[in-house]
């Protein structure tokens, strides 16, 4: 008989008996582990696990799309290798893009600097430390034209990560195309335009949620009518995972955001099939290999279900297509070549999950922007999977796996449960206004940090198998002052040459349109043609919409409850208590986020961790200038300022902060710096007067003890 080895896997007793022998004294239920999502993972799955799974045995290209949005997937055309990049000036970035395209990259993905994200021109006093740092500085259509010089926009698919200043940037892109001779209907690519997640995690918003949702609607409307090849939005879970969300939370909030955008577009009077095929998604792929594959399969299935009530006729309207990026959070500064291996594993999970395009991180991204060398390795990771292996030869290779099908189903159910909570709160916009999703993500982040710091979650080279060997490699460093000077020169030039009357007229029309209900993108295209700057267009809208100010909420006692390595924690707590006794008060620290960098996960984790250890912690507002931080530090009479830097502003902003403290006679305030800081900047920071620098992966208790030491040194000196 052909199936003579079938033992009937629904009866597990014979396997369990064998397993017990292997386990010895350990009870068999120890083999079931719980994931961060709270899902149980058994050691063995069998046919019995496949019962009651709805989406089982479907076909790729057909509803509910669990197995992929296209019938043939990579067997005919592999995913698009799309590497996210941008830094310094438009000239520099353009040179880098053209090199990469020549070496096998297929699409562009533009990273803008934080000044641009937040709608400030490069000469704005608030952005001194940010210009050209974490992305390319774009002030006007002139910069945009240089960015795409010799890159034919009718052929090249361009993805732009832009959410705050989305109106002037997309308008500048349209005008740059126009002046290259490319009509809007020929432009292809994606604009992120996902503002809802900005209020939860990334914080590069400008306006309050309601006008921001209107902007999203305007862009969907404009692209639906004029740019049929352009994805109007990239609904992103990536930054949620980076900020600490588990896969279920990422999935639920992302699809929840998606539904809000659908509602916003319908409210504009569009028909669902006019825009829904151009909605795209963006997920993170971290180190939980199976879970990430399941996430993409579950995402497609769930999106199909969620779109059904809107009654789309076009199949593409309920077909989830996604871009993926490997996790930046999983990268370590310690033993950094390990990051190449991490990225490879994550890339494979993204591919097995069926992504449409992929960015693989460079190994040096835990400390800086990618160098030419590290960017090549990252790109080759994908090329090797595509060209050297047989991975692309089969559609959805995990389909039918007892385990994978079960996990997909469980994850989808968990995400649906969270989505029901969101709906009960009145939808994502309401939930976000109440701050609920942000707190949920921050709580997950604090738990994760405590698990890593106490060794429950292993990170090789960080909390296990550490090496003394140092890795030397070249790091890309952007001279922020020089870039800023170049940008300012070009801004002055534009302001001099442009037709003032035409400019005035277009900006007034934009402002009037914002007060009524003109399409803002269409009006902004006129402004960009008239050589308005990104800052001027953003200001016109600011006058009507105002700015969003985020209430800063924080979780407490989460870190302490998850931290299992009691000795370190208790030692640090004792050191704090001893200091408090001597000083007559708790040590007090201001956690400051300087410049336009809104990545506040690190700052929040440090704040809650330090408070759990006994510090009085002042949390500074986002986007603080060094002057404002010093005023707050002095009024609150803090012992230390902890600067959290994730976006390379530290070389400009930290020395300025220390200088201002000196001017105020407050040099006894210790300045410590943490975040994404390359090893070679440490000397510079110490030389500028920083008392301690904490790289990624520093356990919170260690940082706390070293901060105390720094305070004591300052008080003595």
């Amino acid at each position: 008989m052909s199936n003579s080895y079938r033992t009937g896997s629904k009866d597990l007793s014979s396997w369990e008996n064998l397993a017990r022998k292997d386990l010895g004294a350990v009870p068999i239920d120890k083999l079931t582990r719980s994931t961060p999502e709270g899902l149980p993972i058994k050691a063995l799955y069998t046919a019995a696990d496949l019962e009651h799974i709805e989406s089982l045995d479907s076909l790729p290209g057909l509803p509910p799309y669990t197995r992929g949005p296209r019938a043939t997937m990579y067997t005919v055309k592999p995913w698009t290798i799309r590497q996210y990049a941008g830094f310094s000036t438009a000239e520099e970035s353009n040179r880098f893009y053209r090199q990469n395209l020549a070496a096998g990259q297929m699409g562009l993905s533009i990273a803008f600097d934080l000044a641009t994200h937040r709608g400030y021109d490069s000469d704005h006093p608030r952005v001194t430390g940010d210009v050209g740092k974490a992305g390319v500085a774009i002030d006007s259509v002139e910069d945009m034209k240089i960015l795409f010089d010799q890159i034919p926009l009718e052929k090249m698919s361009v993805s732009m990560t832009m959410n705050g200043a989305v109106i002037p940037i997309l308008a500048a892109f349209i005008v740059a195309g126009e002046e290259q001779g490319v009509k809007p209907e020929l432009l292809s690519g994606t604009i992120q335009n996902d503002v809802l997640k900005e209020y939860m995690v990334r914080n590069t918003y400008i306006y309050p949620p309601e006008p921001s949702m209107r902007i999203v609607g305007d862009i969907i409307e404009y692209t639906a009518h004029h740019m049929p090849r352009f994805n109007s939005i990239s609904i992103s879970g990536y930054h949620m995972q980076e900020a600490g969300a588990n896969s279920a939370i990422e999935l639920a909030f992302t699809l929840g955001d998606g539904i809000e955008y659908v509602r916003a577009a319908l409210a504009k009077g569009l028909k669902v099939d006019e825009f829904a095929p151009r909605l795209s998604f963006f997920f993170a792929i971290g180190m939980n290999f199976y879970m990430e594959i399941a996430k993409l399969r579950a995402a497609r299935t769930l999106w199909y279900k969620l779109m059904k009530p809107f009654e789309p006729k076009d199949a593409r309207s309920s077909m989830l297509r996604t871009h993926c990026q490997t996790s930046g959070y999983s990268l370590t500064e310690q033993d950094p070549y390990n990051n190449i291996i991490r990225t490879t594993i994550e890339a494979m999970a993204g591919v097995f999950g069926g992504t449409q395009s992929l960015h693989t991180n460079s190994f040096d991204e835990a400390v800086s922007l990618p160098s030419n060398f590290s960017a090549r390795l990252a790109r080759n990771t994908q090329l090797i999977i595509q060209e050297e292996t047989d991975i692309c030869h089969v559609v959805d290779p995990f389909g039918g796996s007892y385990f994978m099908e079960k996990l997909t189903d469980q994850l989808m159910n968990e995400a649906e449960r969270i989505l029901q909570e969101v709906e009960a709160a009145g939808g994502m916009v309401k939930a976000i206004q109440q701050g609920l999703p942000k707190l949920k993500i921050e709580e997950a982040a604090a738990r994760k940090q405590a698990r890593v710091d106490s060794g429950q979650d292993v990170i090789v080279g960080v909390n296990k198998f550490r090496t003394q060997e140092e890795s030397h490699f070249e790091v890309r460093d952007v001279d922020n002052t020089l870039v800023r000077e170049q940008q300012i020169a070009r801004l002055n030039d534009i302001r001099q040459k442009r037709d003032k009357a035409q400019l005035q007229q277009s900006l007034e029309a934009l402002e009037a349109g914002a007060r009524s209900n003109g399409n803002l993108l269409s009006l902004a295209v006129d402004c960009m043609r008239a050589r308005a700057t990104v800052g001027e267009v953003s200001d016109a809208l600011r006058r009507v919409f105002g700015e969003h100010r985020a209430p800063i909420q924080s979780v407490s006692a989460v870190y302490a409850s998850e931290y299992k390595l009691k000795t370190d924690f208790d030692d640090a707590k004792q050191a704090v208590a001893a200091y408090a006794l001597e000083e007559g008060r708790q040590p007090r620290i201001l956690i400051a986020k300087l410049g336009q960098d809104g990545h506040d996960r690190g700052a929040k984790v440090i704040a809650t961790g330090f408070a759990d250890l006994g510090f009085d912690v002042d949390i500074g507002p986002l986007f603080q200038t060094p002057e404002e931080a010093v005023k707050q530090a002095i009024e609150n009479d803090v012992h230390a300022i902890g600067v959290s830097s994730q976006a390379a502003g530290h070389k400009t902003l930290v020395p300025r902060l220390i200088e201002l403290l000196k001017l105020e006679g407050a040099s006894d305030v210790a300045v410590v710096v943490g975040g994404i800081i390359p090893q070679q900047d440490y000397e510079f920071l110490f030389h500028s007067g920083a008392a301690a620098v904490f790289g990624p992966g520093t356990p919170v208790p260690k940082a706390a003890v070293e901060t105390l030491e720094a305070i004591k040194r300052k008080r003595k000196g």
Binding site: Q553, A580, G584, P621, D637
Partner: protein
């Protein structure tokens, strides 16, 4: 840390931000030798205090205190006043640490050159808060701040404490809290000089109107106090910028009337008396507990009281008896 009190005092009087900040730290310190220095500083500055309006603001978490203070404080600054905001945030009883995030909600005040904001951890004893907050007000006044806002989270007894040290006590209330007026809220209403229903915007505006009526009705049943002005119920929306100016104008006219009618002075003299009584209690206790054997005895008796093997009254009598004084006898 060695402290030069003279230098600190002149820095504070010269209007130096850092001088005031350091002086606040000194009065908040738990070290006995710091206390001695603090008393010296306070004694010297006392004649220069009292020249401000002291306004207490309280309400449950989420009622929008910081947003209200941000909007409200700007009026003072626009009129050329110097504004100090003292905020009290709860400390964790487990770690003794705290998160002091309030300034993040007052972005515009925080950067204003004539505004000084200081969040303070509550520490662990409620009495401690009151003692230090009174002293902090005094320091801010000596430093030249003429409007002082004291913000507390409306939990426990902190309202009572704060109402005992301010000229005008404002109680912030959410629109939907109207139907729960009966129980605990009534106690707070007896302390309030003004009730403000916040977030009266959009769909909540109707509920806010109802809440105003409910509060007015509840106040109607309270006894008149001729030392105080009638309690007013107002509503506002920080979001739609409605009602704030009216509240500011009302506050200004109430303060003027309190001053002119002599009620302000009467209230402050009563507060000074209360302050004296509680200072006397605190200082006597501090002094007595400097005696190590007495402190040990108190700790031992505390354990017995906690365990329930000794009644609190009996324990107190035993302490007093150990001093050789008679307690509870003729």
């Amino acid at each position: 840390m060695t402290i030069d009190i003279k230098a600190l005092e002149s820095s504070l009087l010269a209007g130096k931000r850092r001088g005031l900040a350091k002086a606040l730290t000194l009065v908040e310190s738990r070290r006995p030798e710091h206390r001695a220095l603090a008393i010296r500083l306070l004694t010297s500055l006392y004649p220069k205090s009292g020249q401000s309006h002291r306004i207490g603001i309280t309400g449950s978490p989420g009622v929008g205190k910081s947003t209200f203070i941000e909007a409200f404080g700007k009026f003072f600054l626009e009129q050329g006043h110097r504004l100090a905001v003292l905020a009290i945030d709860p400390s964790s009883p487990k770690s003794h640490g705290s998160i002091l995030g309030d300034k993040t909600r007052m972005d515009e005040l925080a950067v204003h050159p004539h505004c000084f904001i200081r969040p303070s951890p509550s520490g662990l004893s409620l009495g401690g808060v009151a003692r230090r907050t009174r002293e902090c007000i005094l320091l801010c006044e000596a430093a030249g701040y003429d409007k002082i806002l004291i913000e507390t989270v409306g939990v426990g007894q902190s309202e009572t404490l704060v109402s005992d040290m301010v000229d005008e006590f404002m109680f912030l209330q959410l629109p939907n809290a109207g139907d729960q007026l009966q129980g605990i809220k009534k106690g707070i209403l007896e302390l309030a000089d003004m009730v403000v229903v916040t977030k009266a915007d959009g769909v909540f505006e109707q509920a806010a109107r109802q809440a105003v009526v409910d509060h007015e009705l509840a106040l109607h049943f309270m006894q008149d106090d001729e030392d105080r002005l009638p309690v007013r119920v107002m509503m506002c929306s920080a979001l739609e910028k409605k009602g704030l100016l009216e509240i500011y104008d009302l506050l200004q006219s109430k303060l003027m009337e309190l001053t002119q009618s002599g009620r302000l002075e009467k209230r402050r003299s009563q507060q000074r008396e209360q302050w004296f009584v509680s200072e006397l209690n605190d200082q006597m206790m501090d002094l007595l507990l400097q005696d190590r054997s007495l402190k040990k005895n108190v700790e031992k008796l505390t354990t017995q009281v906690i365990q329930g093997t000794l009644s609190p009254t009996e324990a107190a009598q035993q302490v007093i008896a150990s001093l050789g004084w008679n307690a509870g006898k003729e």
